[in-house]
Symmetry: C2
DNA sequence: TTATACAGTACCAATTTAGTCCTATATTGA
DNA sequence: TCAATATAGGACTAAATTGGTACTGTATAA
């Protein structure tokens, strides 16, 4: 149902924690303890974020991770892009797809428009936005979770 | 990568075809031939759309399917909803989720905001919008597909 | 040289999705 | 009433994806 992967969710939680205190380096172990995400999973996610250039990684003892940009410059779209690749809600919304018989299709090109609209939303939301405290809703409303992630 | 299921894509193609000539009933066989989606798959999708109330279904000989509303009233969000349930980009953006330790999370509630923004986009786009002819892009741009669906 | 911490990759289990098929039910018309 | 037509509702399997873990390699500091 138009779901992001759990790894993307983990990544956002980890980056948000790092953003809070970005003065020092964060080891994978520290991140794991602070977020209650299992260490192997933290490692996996951080490696991907490092490769994508969203965080700096320093090896060796006294090493760790640090945000590569300020939270205001890290968009949700870039986090998703790092973990899952470019957003493409359907095969037809992707740029690289090849199709000979598209002439017969009634909705040709329109998924691309929808996709663009969603990407615009995701590019407009930054890590800093994600750290704003949201009001708590009653149980009938949005029930947020954190434990749910590490299930 | 924030992907809709293929069935949702099929459903949109089928509904768009039906919208073109909604004066008569469309049998699953006719829809299959017009869209080149295999008949069993067409049946599966139409059953779901019927159950969701997006199309009327009439059984027996001379039976078939017909849109339950005009294309301007059928939103992309409702099509997704019929096939995949409500849009929930993460577990934390769902309404029904239960979490005891959310107090520790840095991004608590924010996925719900992002989710809402995406739902707003999807609710603003109708089947009629999806039928607007889009300009053809060069191969470097969006490459639309129709055959890709039935792969 | 040793301990620490990230990098890269391979791997498996669990889940989800796509696709097909079978039986039941409703409708029409001969 | 019977036969033909079409949808309804499940059940089922194969394929693909995802989530999670483990192992080996490399860089750094003391
Ligand atoms: S991700 Fe933090 S409350 Fe769900
Ligand atoms: S769905 Fe891809 S061109 Fe129609």
């Amino acid at each position: 149902m138009l779901r992001l992967s759990k790894l993307t969710d983990y990544a956002t939680v980890l980056l948000a924690y790092m953003a809070k205190t970005n003065s020092h380096l964060h080891t994978a172990l520290e991140l794991s303890e602070a977020t209650a995400i299992h260490l192997p999973t933290v490692s996996k996610v951080m490696k991907v974020l490092s490769k994508a250039g969203l965080v700096y990684a320093i090896r060796g003892s006294k090493g760790g991770y640090q945000l590569a940009q300020v939270p205001e410059q890290i968009t949700v779209a870039s986090i998703i892009g790092a973990l899952e690749g470019p957003v493409a809600i359907t095969e037809c919304s992707a740029q690289t797809h090849d199709c000979e018989q598209a002439s017969a299709c009634e909705i040709k090109g329109n998924w691309g428009v929808v996709n663009r609209a969603i990407v615009n939303v995701l590019e407009s939301i930054t890590l800093a936005d994600m750290m704003v405290t949201q009001q708590q809703y009653s149980s009938a409303e949005i029930q947020v979770s954190w434990q749910g992630l590490s299930r």
